[in-house]
Symmetry: D2
Subunit: 288 residues, 4 copies
């Protein structure tokens, strides 16, 4: 990821009703403003007659973001497009919520440090203290917000305040074992990412590894998804599995599952940060 080329690039995503000529309209507008398509994906969902597009636009200095956006607004309005254009040099701000388990947080911090994740991590929030030194060794502030068994409202208010104070674009639940209250699911819709420790929709709810062990499945998995108020039912971003057999007891499943969880969460977050994920209804288009 050595970015020796200093010229800025932008990522544009579009979601709209499908019509004839949309690729032409978008690409022509970009070309007219001197932009180049570094990368361009599109997809038409023929069942729902919906169009999705993602463009990475280069071409500076000839390409001027502001004048392009001004012009493009008319095209977008004409075609009822939901769209955005973001500067690739302005990383998203990602607040990570963790609990006691370290594997997902450790992996995210490792990849962030290695430059694999295009984001800033303004802070880590946890209801346990044990991951503080890991966060702080990476130079990231750590906030301890204990969550009582009953009446969790104050704790979630406190977290919300921290998240907002840090100006988070995205919130990641890195095996944060608390159920998010509905008003936060709504407030952070499409920006709140969870890793579920099963291959959804198998083993919805608690203790999926125990359930998988009891059922005798031959593969276990993990699911990265956007959180909605329907528990474990939000749009799926990424999934993967690993093979297990009769010789693996429940502890083995937990151990093997950790590897799948952390890689699925990291991939899912990476796709999200690079704006490769477009949500429509309860499903995602992921341009990889």
């Amino acid at each position: 990821m050595d970015n020796s080329d200093p010229s800025p690039e932008y990522t544009m995503v579009i979601s709209s009703p499908d019509r004839s000529g949309l690729v032409a309209a978008v690409a022509s507008s970009i070309a007219k403003h001197g932009g180049t398509l570094v990368e361009s994906h599109n997809h038409t969902d023929h069942q729902h007659q919906w169009f999705f597009m993602r463009n990475v636009i280069g071409g500076a200095p000839s390409f001027d973001r502001e004048s392009f956006c001004k012009d493009f607004s008319d095209i977008a309005a004409e075609h009822a497009m939901e769209w955005s254009l973001s500067d690739n040099d302005t990383p998203e701000r990602v607040v990570i919520l963790a609990s006691h388990a370290s594997h997902c947080l450790a992996d995210l911090l490792y990849r962030w440090k290695a430059g694999e994740l295009r984001c800033a991590i303004p802070c880590v929030i946890s209801n346990h203290e044990n991951l503080r030194s890991m966060a702080e060794w990476h130079g990231i502030p750590f906030h301890y917000v204990p969550v009582p068994k009953t009446d969790k409202r104050e704790a979630f208010d406190q977290m919300e305040a921290i998240i907002d104070r840090h100006d988070a674009d995205t919130v990641v639940l890195a095996r944060y074992m608390q159920i998010m209250p509905p008003h936060l699911c709504d407030k952070y819709a499409r920006r709140l990412i969870n890793i579920h420790h099963s291959f959804l929709p198998s083993f919805i709810g608690a203790n999926p590894y125990q359930k998988a062990y009891d059922r005798g499945v031959k593969l276990i998995g993990a699911t990265c998804h956007y959180v909605t108020t329907d528990l474990d039912e939000g749009p799926i971003i990424e999934q993967d599995v690993v093979r297990v057999d009769h010789s693996n007891n429940k502890d083995d499943l937990v151990r093997l599952g950790r590897d799948v969880e952390r890689s699925v969460l990291s991939r899912g977050l990476r796709y999200h940060l690079e704006r490769r994920v477009l949500v429509h209804g309860n499903k995602t288009v992921v341009f990889t």
Copy 2:
């Protein structure tokens, strides 16, 4: 699989409460009778205190099956073992039930002809006529048994008669879309193998590909399992998955799923025929 060595081999499987010394007792008995362990697997389920063993025994002509079995009966009785010893040169008799879809039947017949499946296939039964020529080209009798929408009893009686007349050891539901009546599930317990077109326990029941498409999963799969009276809940023998994405419509899932179904069923049946699958409770031990 060219078996230039004509000396017979036997496959012995054992399932029993776990005790100290079981491997020693079994292996010593085999050695005492001049048998050699061509292959030997064992597993202890420490949670349920249960012991599983599979041995492929060679050593002819010194190893005499009958005298071994006579002696071993005492050991088995002493340790409360459920056990069997079968001659690898006596293939199982497998009756295949198919419906309209050809992919699983085609794959099984191809592998049988290629010598990959250690079995005889005395007949194929179907509630449609369209696969007759495929079966007959392979030299296998085909029985057409239509199943009416209501009052299916007579049809299932007819099938049962055919299965029994052909002296079937194992019955395979190769995408046979009818639900087996409970009395046949019981009669053919642990000998009735189904391929379910989803990664169970996801998408139990009908139309799993439509459900998978609607849910937006990123992997689809198939499950080979023994049939029990609990629909889609029997012991799982084998599973596998394939990656899909937003560009795959429901027809694509069906097409991609066919490949997983046929390979999972073929592997599962292969394990079963080679007596690699031991059932305990609702789970399997598969010695691969």
Copy 3:
């Protein structure tokens, strides 16, 4: 693949030096002629400054192929594009060459019959007689062309004549174990597809499974590639692997490898027939 919509679709592929505005130019031209983008992929190889695009175009009856092609020729000339537009309803003609092994041929014929491969198969050619009945049961003429150990020229001349008489667009070597003479590699360049029974570039040349067994690798694979005069060095279309372990002897590797070979060849051919594969230098772009 039930194609209830009778309106024609076209697949257009483009390969050209990269320039600004290519997507806009192509998409605008299609839109101008009333075409719709059923599917559209593009890729820029920034290292080689090369542009690749594949469009599936609908839009009949407003879209007229001839007038579009006439107009597009000017655009193509201006941008030095290599391009083609083919009618999806006109299947390619694929001649299959096989030897003694049945697995790849059986799989291709099965998929062709199931409607998974968009092609006609005018004939099968083999240097053995054993696969005749399989081809003929599928209704496909079979030509037996024995290849002597020395002086194979006449045999290859005969094959060439058959291939050309059948007007083949594509020739598939379905585990055809003879090395194609250079003049045929050149004549059928980018239309001659082979399946190699190893994960290239591992184990180039003969007996890859023996070599894999001797080396003790933990995965074996297969490679589908275009044939060039450099043996086993042509552009790779598709590859896959399967896990093996110490318990697998060489015969097991051959058996497990057959499954990978047939699925890799079928996928590779499918991509080729749907014009998803664009070759540049010795590499491929595969739009899946």
Copy 4:
């Protein structure tokens, strides 16, 4: 891995010429001394007539290690067995050599801290300073041993002294980019583990990702192997691959490869530490 049961377990590995009755002899001897088989694997290589066995033995306090070993020596001598029995509570001492790249070291340290690797890590040695703080944060001493371009002898002498002073059982090359001198390969034979950043035997030598990119392969991989004096030719312990496509440039391959490297190395080391890996000739038996 919470080991609430304090009774000791032992791992026994055996490698010997194959003979009839070996499993019986070993299992009977263990049973006679009151040992139980917590886990037991064996394998016969019929081609080389060689026998391999691994037993995890419990049964304390009745099982006495010393008296068992004394008795078993006679059996071992009779059957020309190479064997060992180690206490599972005495972790191996693993010295890790790293260079500039952090991913493998980070993963090993993470897993060690998480209790996934049954070992002590007395120190990390590197020819760069940049990983010092990572090692030291984990509480592990870090030794900086620069290696000059020419005349590396003194550096390797220094490393050897550190390794020996720390009483290392196993030495891991965690992307240590220096070629080990032959006398150290011999000295640490079967105890010196490397991760090679390709799917061997593809792309032997330097710059495998560049070579993979240039060849246009569709999967890249990594190989964990014991180091011998034949560079990249030692016995393979574990391998894995990940899918890539035309959209991945060389930097992407490096990034994707890092994930495969670290998981393959961690799995390989885990198998080694649990004595699941038996070497015979240039191949391994891995009892997983």
